[in-house]
Point group: C2
Chain length 116, copies 2
């Protein structure tokens, strides 16, 4: 049998004054940590930076490999991590994939860091 | 025999127009990645958040252990990583260590993310 009183109890409990600022909850922390991990890598930071610095803020994977001194599969892996994290977008045109910064993605991440 | 022409060649080469925005150099990327790695962890993000939300923005390690559900040595380890990264400062008073956010540290990190 379901105990209705127990199910309703949490809403009625007022044990503590609310803190001046709400601390980050576990699920929010997991999500933010995941995105931060995606960019917390020297090669990936340089890829983001190179894409942003490129003409039209768009870069072909073929332009990103040589300056980093990494193999194309390694660069493609790093780019995939950044796409999966919502930092870069990918557009396949013909032989090559082209990458752009997702508008506002870095700003939103920076805002999350400041208000953690 | 050393080929002087080859050694001098790179300075004379002008192959490309400079990029509109300067891409992040390798050493800058290493340094930023290291600081981002320090905060790219759910427990450490929650610790930063709990310290910031605490009365007077200062928290004793004794107040941080129970809400996280981690052992005190584990929490102390995470706090040390954050102190070493320049995010928190530590003040030992009597039995306990007290932690504060380093003023401006998160703002500076956020700024680095936006201008990567």
């Amino acid at each position: 049998m379901v105990n209705v009183e127990l199910l309703q109890a949490p809403a009625a409990v007022e044990c503590c004054a609310p803190p001046a600022r709400q601390a980050l909850a576990a699920d929010g922390a997991e999500k933010l940590a995941k995105t931060l991990k995606a960019i917390a890598d020297p090669a990936r930071l340089r890829l983001i930076s190179m894409v942003a610095a490129h003409d039209d803020a768009e870069a072909c994977v073929c332009d990103l490999t040589e300056p980093l001194g990494l193999s194309q599969p390694t660069v493609s892996h790093h780019l995939k991590v950044l796409v999966d994290a919502g930092i870069l977008s990918r557009d396949k045109r013909g032989t090559w994939a082209y990458y752009r910064l997702v508008p506002g993605a870095l700003d939103a991440l920076a805002q999350s860091v400041v208000t953690v």
